[in-house]
Structure formats: structure tokens, C-alpha cells
Symmetry: C2
Subunit: 378 residues, 2 copies
């Protein structure tokens, strides 16, 4: 018997409130001389991007902010062009998951001499520029994962690039960046932290190390998310940034599973924001998956839950407490479309990670539990 | 306020019983063509080194086994010479902590063009060859740390080399390698796993991530060490290899602290083996340190201990149950030499990591608790 597991996470993480004000020091210590900043347009408007430039000791030589919420091949190609134009030796991604993913794809596309279309149609990543990821939401975890999801909307392709070369060289987790975020920008990435952790626990690729990160991240998120959203409490926001990082350390090794596979169509067709969409079915996936991995019932006791069922119940409670929708009716998905939701779930690349492989009919049954009448009973 | 912490551990870990039989696949996947094996002499005698060579698909082109228990500058220089002689592109370290440390130093010395004497007198490491670390004891954790301790015996120097470049590219943790180890070779590295974890919890450099690894590693080691030593139970030995790895992930970030600082003189003067020497005072260090970090009393509750005191009591119990000595009289240290033990503790490089800085007199008082008369009372 030769079953084995691996652990690889080469990103240097720097964690601290206010730490982005030391960006110049961190860039020069890493030996970067000219760097392109790829920023969320909102971070440019708010002045946060300029503050980063001002603290870069002149090392940030250009800013690019043409990144859409689900980044496109056009976004990536435009970013690659900016890398060429400014002749930089490293790239900073500064934003939520979309901006970090676009930055990863651009740094790989540039160094591998591949267009974005080539990347999303499967051409092999052979190199990547050094990348510094600075998340401005507490939830993505993308700063420590080797994955970037890029959309080719004209062809209805949403492709998860994956390569060890996509790991950022440096991640800077600065909770101060989320202190003044609107509640909704705390809530949806925040609940995604929990789905990252529960997905990691129910992946066929789980390891003894990813399991502990996932339990730890879930515990911190369950303890802090409501306070972070509803009171915008700084300590709770610090903890959510930490939970987001730890969740990333977990699912960087395991990939995501059912809840994520099931979410993409809810986002593309019904415009449910990513975190709300993954959390929407996560409680049901965790219930089903814990039957396939019964030790989860004991494992969650180490973070204060009676069993896996108690985790599912608590997640649903948290969603309601932070203003997220929990029924199919609320997110406007008609029962007549559940067939397609189930089909798209099975087609998603990460569904094979899910510890139990439900068929289409079984996924439909799972989704039906999210109708208002079922939800009222549970 | 700009306090921050970092996390960096770039080694790819491969964990699995029997996995060293796939060494050829792992070496070729990493792109290595000619590799030198630096092996523990005992692994050469036992045939384990030859088995590794046989499974390397011809990639291991040379074997070097002149490594002493506390590796010397002469050992390192001889290993560097072998690297030159065989013109290899990577090095495997295959043994306990001593062999892994020697391999790290040789790979750095060769690539930085520095002799071992230069290395241990502080010349900067600027490069290192790719290194594969395969521990043959469940305890060192050195396969995932950036440190190598090398001795220059003629000058009474025992120097901890430290550089991010000393991280192995690949670590292969194969529990099968310890299945037939003698009890003592399970016991002393095994108890060192616990000291690595407790040291990490009481380091000024502890982080939220190292803390969880340390608690997790300690829990697994406390649950499995006695069974691993006394029954040589395979499942318990698998778990000890896992605990050793996790402890390494913790103290790779924090360094070691009081128990280790206090151990070196016990080893050099009184020939107390490393793990027995670090564990000898660890319970007392943990008692003292938990007063400086009182939250440890709550933290250890998450792994089933009432408080820090209960951890110290349990550690002492484990030591006795696996046949280790627990009093100054047993290890033949006269009370008249405690002054020197205390002095050497303070001089050790890692003592500054300890969360509370005891003075010489206070360390002597701590040591006195290890006299037979005190130990009987506690």
C-alpha cells in the first residue's frame, strides 16, 4: 500500500494591521525594483491604492485597475500589456479574489508567453513573475492558493487555472484594509471563509494538516463573523482576516468541493454573489458529506460542536444573522431550473474533489431542501 | 502600532508509509538527474541506504556516510568534497537530525562556496543546492526547518546555521523507516517532538499558526509516544512521524527556547542524548513560561489538558513510562555544576526566544527542582 499525501505552500505570509504601510520595505527586502500595481477600481477610488503607491518608496511604477468582478480574458490580456509597458520585475494584486486571480493569471501569462485565451483553454503555465498578493476582503484566501478563476464570457467558459507557479511569492494580510468596508463586503467573503473550511474537510484530498487548518479557520470564523459584520468590530475583523488566511492554507491543499461546484451557475445565471452562493448550499453538502466521512462528527467536537449536524445548523443561523438569503425563493431560482443547477454542479472541475459523488437526482434532492417549505421544517 | 508576524515554509512534504520506495519517481519529477546520498552510517549497515539507491532509477550516483552524531565541520567539508566529486545537481539527507543538518550545511557550503569553518563562524549563506530530506527517526523535524547545528569541536563551537536557503526543497516522511528502530531510537527523538511543540508555544516568535501546529503536534505525540516506544505499534509510529513533522512546522517559525538552550551542555558534558536532554527540563520551563503567557492554560484545554501544570505533570509521566531519566542524580550532574549549566543556557543562541528571560540564579532554582529530593515532592 502506497497511499501518500503532500503539503506545499511556499508563499511568505506577512500578517499585521497597518502592515501595507511598510510595502516599500517589503518590496525592497525581496529585491524588487519596479513593480506594477493591479488594483480593484474601488481601491483606486477610495485612495487606498494611492496610499500604497505613496508608501512604496517609488517602487510601484504603474497602476492598472481594469478588472471586472469575475475577471475576464480581456482583463488579463490588458494587465499583461501593462506588465510589458512598464517593464516591471514583479506584480502586486491589491483587491478581492477577482483582482488577485487576474494578477496571478497575468503574471503567469506574461512569463509563460501565453495569451489569456491560451491560458483558459489549457496551455501549460511554465513560468510566472514574482507576485505579491494583498487581499482587501477578509475571505478570498486566494493570496495563498495556487488557483485563479478566469472567465471567457463570449464562450461561456469559467476556467480555474491551477499551477504551483501561481502561488504568490508574498502575501500581505493587513486587516486594516477591511476596517471601513461596507457590511456586505464583510458578510459575503466572510461566510466564504466557512465554506472554504468545510469544503476542505470534505475533499478527497484532505490531509492531517489541512484538516487542522480547516477546523481552526472555521472555529475562528464562526466565533467572529457576526460581530465583524454587525458591529464592524476591529478585533473581530482582525480575526476574520486571520480565519481567511488559515482557510486558504487549508483549501490550497485540498481544492474546493460541492458547495463551490454548485455555486458557479447560481452566480452566473442568478447573480448571487460568490460567498453567498457557496454558503447557500454548504450546510446541506456538509450534512451529506459527513455521512461519507463520519469521523467529522468527532473532529468538530474539538472546536466545540456536538456533531456535523450542529455545524450545519449553526452555519444556517450565521447566514441569517448576517443578512444572507437561505431559500431558493429568496435567490429567485425556480424549481424548474434545479435540473440545470445539478447538471452544472457535476460539470464543475472541482466536483471530483467532493468526498461523495452524488448523481444529478441526488443533487436535486439536496437543492430541494433549500425551498422555503423544506427550509421552514428544518 | 505595526506589530506583525510572518509564516514561511516552502518545503514540499510527501508523507506516506513506504513512500521512499518511490524515490526515483519523486527525484525525476523534481528534475534531478544526478544526486548524492548523505546517509547515516547505521542506515548503510542496515541496508536501508542500499534500498533507497536501488529504488532511485539510477539517479543516486554516490553515497557518503561519514557523519558523526553531532556533525562536525570535518563531516561537512568531506560532504562538500563528495558533492564536487560526483558533480550532482541535488543532495539527499537520509538519517536523523545529525545527518539532515550535515546535508543542509554541505548543500549551502557548496553552493555558497564556503568551507564549513566559514559557515560556523558566521559567513553569509548566499545559495544552496536543492536538498531532499528523509528523516529516519520520528522526532527531528529538521526536514522542515531552516536550521542546521554544526560543531567545531576543536574550538568548542556548536553553531546553529540559520537561513531560509536551508529549507529542503522536498521532505519525504516515511514512517516505515522507524518500524524496526530500537526502542531508545523511538523514545528520545519522540520525546523531542513534545519539547519542540512546548518550546514553540513559549517562544517570543509564536504566531497564531505555529500555536495551532504546536498544540496539534503535542496532542498527537502525547497520545502515541508510549505505545510507539513500548509496543512498537505501527499506527502509533505513523502518528509519531506525523507529530514530528507538525512539530517541525511549528518550530521552523518560532525557533526553540529554554529547554533546548539548557540541553546543549547536558549533551556535550554529560553525554545525555539530545531528546532526553531537552525533555529533562522542559516540564519546568513550561511551568515557568506559562506564567509569562497565561493564555496557555486555556489553549491546552483544546487538546484535553486542564491547564499548563497538567501538561508538565503528564510530560514527566511520559518520560518515566518510556524509560528516560528525570533527576539530576540519574544523569550524573552534580549540584556543584548547576552554575555552569545555567550560564551555558543563557549563552545559547536560542535562549533569547524564550518568552521569559530568567537570570542565572533563577535558572539554577529551576534546575534544582530536578534534584531527586525535589522531584520526589512534586
Amino acid at each position: 500500500m502506497m497511499t501518500f499525501w503532500t503539503q506545499y505552500q511556499p508563499t511568505k505570509v506577512i500578517f499585521g494591521a497597518g502592515e501595507t504601510d511598510n510595502i516599500g520595505k517589503h518590496l525592497s527586502e525581496a529585491g524588487y525594483k519596479q513593480v506594477l500595481l493591479i488594483a480593484d477600481p474601488f481601491m483606486v477610488q477610495s485612495g487606498a491604492a494611492q496610499r500604497l503607491v505613496d508608501h512604496s518608496d517609488g517602487i510601484i511604477v504603474g497602476v492598472f485597475d481594469k478588472v471586472d468582478p469575475n475577471p475576464t480574458v480581456q482583463n488579463v490580456d490588458a494587465a499583461i500589456k501593462k506588465i510589458q509597458e512598464f517593464k516591471v520585475d514583479a506584480v502586486i494584486g491589491f483587491g478581492g479574489g477577482s483582482v488577485l486571480d487576474c494578477s496571478k493569471a497575468a503574471s503567469a501569462g506574461y512569463a509563460s508567453q501565453l495569451t489569456a485565451e491560451k491560458l483558459v483553454t489549457g496551455s501549460k503555465i511554465t513560468a510566472a513573475m514574482p507576485l505579491i498578493c494583498i487581499p482587501t476582503t477578509a475571505g478570498t484566501g486566494s493570496e495563498v492558493t495556487p488557483v485563479a478563476i478566469i472567465s471567457w464570457k463570449e464562450k461561456d467558459i469559467k476556467y480555474p487555472l491551477s499551477s504551483p507557479l501561481l502561488y504568490a511569492a508574498i502575501a500581505i494580510d493587513d486587516p486594516r484594509l477591511v476596517y471601513s468596508a461596507p457590511k456586505r463586503v464583510i458578510a459575503t467573503p466572510g461566510v466564504d471563509v466557512i465554506t472554504h473550511c468545510l469544503d476542505a474537510l470534505t475533499s478527497v484530498k484532505h490531509t492531517p494538516i489541512s484538516d487542522r487548518h480547516a477546523l481552526n479557520g472555521a472555529k475562528i470564523a464562526f466565533d467572529n463573523l457576526e460581530k465583524a459584520v454587525n458591529d464592524q468590530d476591529k478585533k473581530a475583523l482582525d480575526n476574520m482576516m486571520l480565519a481567511s488566511l488559515i482557510a486558504g492554507l487549508a483549501f490550497s491543499q485540498t481544492g474546493t468541493t460541492g458547495s463551490h461546484a454548485c455555486s458557479y451557475y447560481l452566480t452566473s445565471k442568478y447573480r448571487v454573489v460568490h460567498g453567498e452562493a457557496t454558503a447557500f448550499t454548504e450546510d446541506e453538502w456538509f450534512r451529506v458529506n459527513s455521512k461519507a466521512r463520519p469521523e467529522l462528527n468527532q473532529m468538530v467536537q474539538t472546536i466545540g460542536f456536538k456533531d456535523a449536524e450542529a455545524v450545519a445548523v449553526r452555519l444556517n443561523e450565521v447566514k441569517k444573522n448576517i443578512g444572507l438569503r437561505t431559500t431558493l425563493e429568496e435567490i429567485n431560482v425556480p424549481l424548474s431550473d434545479l435540473d440545470t443547477v445539478a447538471e452544472r454542479t457535476i460539470q464543475a472541475n472541482n466536483y471530483i474533489n467532493n468526498i461523495i459523488q452524488l448523481n444529478k437526482e441526488e443533487i436535486k434532492q439536496l437543492l430541494l431542501k433549500k425551498s422555503a417549505s423544506s427550509a421552514a421544517q428544518s
